[in-house]
Symmetry: D3
Subunit: 248 residues, 6 copies
């Protein structure tokens, strides 16, 4: 029995509240159990130096936790004078995952900034950020189409992310903070709607895991991601034309 | 006629949503027109070095804007590598204002951190932070009483804050971003429930203002603060005993 | 009776020693009681990014204290690795105050840097910086005229600044460090020669103040600023033509 | 056919030169094809703040590339003023991987610092760092035993790491820089001598990969890691008693 | 003929104005031609970590230039976010030179901070800082004696510093900025009153110099330092007992 | 008798292993007794801002020690958040010394970066860096000639560096760490093949030294530098034409 009464293969209640931010080109407040992440997508009319002149666009993600999103207050990065290592690792993962969804050659020399700010953290903030980041990104791309900055939405695939792991010897989907803290194995799985991997990170959390344990976890993850894809599509109120983008 | 149809002496709709954060000892989401600020109060069991051994407590405020709380995305402090000057000025003001409310000698050697994170900015973020910060602080002090860390709430006075100014020659209460941008005079007024000033900052915004203009603005401000005090008390569901704290 | 024998409405002895720096376009060593501030004005042939292409100029102030300008040695900002919060707040105030004096549209795309370095601090360093900064700025503008960079001095008004407050229940002008440390109220008042406010900052210093106390303090402040304006004009050896700049 | 003539399942020539550093408690220069990483292990007689008083030890890794370890010179972190994001991600991976090998409760309150400095980079620097880091760590633990700081080597398992991926549709083991640059999938696999995973990171590098592709890659990885474990053991000239540490 | 009419072996006019700072334990404003450096000595009741528990004291120097001490305004270190390389080099030289003068074992666990802030720079700021730093240090040591912190002044020798070089093929003492800018050789010479070297730094400034050129320069330097020692002693109004400190 | 059995005038065994780095335009691993420094020279197709438009080139040096190059592990600069003062001083010396060797007007608007990374430190790292830096620089210039970026090698003179000092009253050449730690005098001497000084830095290391001691040390230094020049030329396998560059 899980701490919050869920079945092993059960996601926490997930809500994507689009349009939370009045100014951003795309935005969503993700509530995922007790985890709350505000994801915004901002379109900027230039690319980083290493992309200039290529005609291609870029997607850059930033991830940060509010000081009291956690059980104990944590100091802000700027007070410590340096970026947080864990946050750096996570924002790089978000960026890579979302870039996999978009055809940069059709974006023009624009940067889309995905800001993921954790208002409350109860485990799974990185997968909530990726799943919500996709929603905000999609809305920003719609906005670009509506402004005639691009002709059509240059998305190749839908991206969903979830964690899965093994706690007290039992495979579980979507770990909350307490489960995560005592997990034997913890994996973050990022997949397309076709069931292919975009990123996969598994860690023994101080222990180790076998290939068959990995298999179980990946199966659980795929199950969860299917649901997340469905919830994203619903929240985005996707048209048939939009859904067809993902058919290859 | 004001841009959003308000009377000159009229506040925007204000909502204090207490308990927004699950972990903080006190927290409130302030919605003040289109301005949204999340204020949390965190109790820490030590004081800054300059207060050690004095037996007294401390209140420290931090203020930050999410990158896309504004019309244009702004870079995070940590990406620029240095704190934002405006933010530094504002968090010092929040800290001074709230410290004025509390008798530090009765707090014990604790720090209360007030974190004000702007989710959306439409003018008046510093006064929303102070007004909301007071609510979060009050809840944190109640929590300390409930934990027997202190015997009674060591608050001397209620603190409310509002902006007032002169736009196109007309005195106005509670400027929104567009009014603020074109204001001739802009003042931030922080007052007790007894009608005394805690802090007062008036600026000609590139122009100047006369003493009689100041008088008009202060009168408007006092009017607004009375309403804010009432809304804070209501949101806090203050008992008669708590209200009596402020009677001197 | 005040600690240094002054009357409540009496300024400390003030001296503006112009031309202290050989290289700066304008410079003044302000000796204000035991407070000593070196103000220099430097003309730079460009503006900050946010002003480029506007045809307008900019004035930027920086404020810093030498490590041993104070009773106890304080660490340099660069040793701590971050700017000092109080200094940031003060330099923003100096900048805003002096920008109010100048018509930026007539300055061309130049920046005038006002550097205020406190050699010795005995209270009132920010008002000494603003009052001295005006003198240095004026000399730099004269230099610009003499170089034909601008046609005439684009100053709209004379700017003077002073502190006033209430110490042990008594209103006092121009607080020295010891008075400031025990003040009930402390205000920094920045005014034009026409008696209008440019900036006004009052703080209860952990306490509160009433509107009538504010009135008393503002009256004292105005009295002091009149004298400061006179001393600035004298130090600047203003011609009648220059004085006429301020008549509107 | 691979760029350097290797078979798909073939590792580059690997050499562990132990004792490269005269002062470190453990050290090894790893030459892995054209990749050269200097790994040192330093024993420090204290633990980070969050571990104090637990009686347990800690392993902390740092990873950095010399400016001209790469095709183009890269700026040092200290010149840019902030840590490199990729380096941060890598050093966190090294630390987690090696901590999985050691029973911290038997280490005492010591920190072992694993410094991985890349002298030359031709792909696979993170897996070379982990594989070499294990060797340096093992020697440092032997030194601790020889100093009677610990009774026996508290290692639970041998740790080896390798990359594997898919380049031009073909699964390949141990990608060099040029292969890595054009890979469709790239995985870093860290495993014990029992064939269990410690960490697993797979990325679509802007594309995606299927579960069967993952399976192929993991099989290749396991093959490579077996050889690496053998080379580590040989380089370490492990006694039978030491080898027995890993039997469970 | 030199640019300012001096003879090759002639120092610029030098003035040591002691007691410039009201709060510092020792202070002097050095005016050395157009170079002006404010040197303060501050006594702190602790030593840096690496000296704790040794019973010995320490002397630490910091050197900085005001932004407009130079022909062109230079940015402050804190605005650039990192210490200035040249300043770092200079303050290390000042520290080493002054530490050579003092018997640290007789100082107790105190740090004396020597702050050298350049108000105006016209060449020779490092030698003016060392020469003035010695005066400020001596006064701080007298203050320590007067407070009974130490029994007698633990100074082993008087320290003076001067630059000398070769400009347009001619050996010259005490280069001003313009001479320094076009010098073939430039040396900074720091010597005791017994004519021994404490530090010596010679640089070809992009060229080279022969041993006989070095000899000429050192002879000029020694001549200058004799005068500086005399001026320091005079400024310090040294008693016979104090002068006797330096006789060995 | 010296600690490692050398004669007072004897260098440690020195080896210049050219081409250590596969990618750098010039590189050398210097082994100098137990000191090991990796020097690389990187050609960059631009100059620093202050040189732009001059048509001249620039040489910039960076010096850093690996964390465990020393007896005790030292923290990385980036972890401390600021550059190391000693390192800053040393890299400035390396840069000045090597710039003296090259005619910048014949280099074109290129920067040559000399990176000196200390793999193991046993005294004399700065002179090893300069001596090795010259070798790497020379190879990079040859590469530039081979690429037709320049017509001929614009080197004016060969640069060698060595330390010499007085330990326990005895003059010694090329101090190792233990000698350096107990030296009365320590000098770093940088000279051309014609026997002229490029830079000279002597320090009393807390004591003082006389002119005749300086003379002894300089004579020892010259002797050592002659051998270093010979070893550099040999390592570089200089052609007669190249040797002729240095004849003037």
């Amino acid at each position: 029995m899980r701490i919050d009464g869920r079945e092993p293969f059960e996601l926490r209640p997930i809500k994507f509240q689009r349009g939370f931010s009045r100014y951003a080109e795309g935005s969503v407040l993700v509530e995922w159990g007790n985890t709350k992440v505000l994801c915004t997508a901002s379109v900027e009319d230039k690319v980083p130096p290493f992309m200039r002149g290529t005609g291609k666009g870029w997607i850059s993600a930033e991830y940060s936790m509010l000081p009291r999103s956690t059980h104990q207050r944590t100091q802000r990065d700027i007070s410590k004078g340096k970026p947080n290592g864990r946050g750096t690792e996570i924002q790089r993962l978000i960026g890579r995952s979302l870039r996999a969804a978009v055809d940069m050659t059709r974006l023009g020399e624009k940067t889309i900034w995905i800001d993921c700010d954790v208002l409350q953290a109860d485990g799974g903030t990185r997968t909530a950020s990726i799943s919500g980041g996709f929603v905000a990104l999609f809305d920003a791309l719609r906005w670009m189409v509506s402004c005639s900055m691009i002709e059509k939405i240059p998305v190749r695939t839908q991206i969903g992310a979830v964690s899965a792991g093994k706690v007290c010897g039992m495979p579980m989907l979507d770990l909350c903070y307490e489960e995560d803290s005592s997990a034997d194995v913890d994996a973050n799985i990022i997949m397309t709607s076709e069931g292919e991997f975009v990123e996969l990170q598994g860690t023994g959390e101080g222990g180790v895991f076998s290939r068959s344990e990995l298999d179980e976890i990946l199966s659980l993850g795929w199950k969860g991601i299917c649901e997340i894809h469905r919830m994203q599509a619903e929240a985005l109120e996707m048209t048939e034309a939009e859904k067809a983008l993902f058919l290859r």
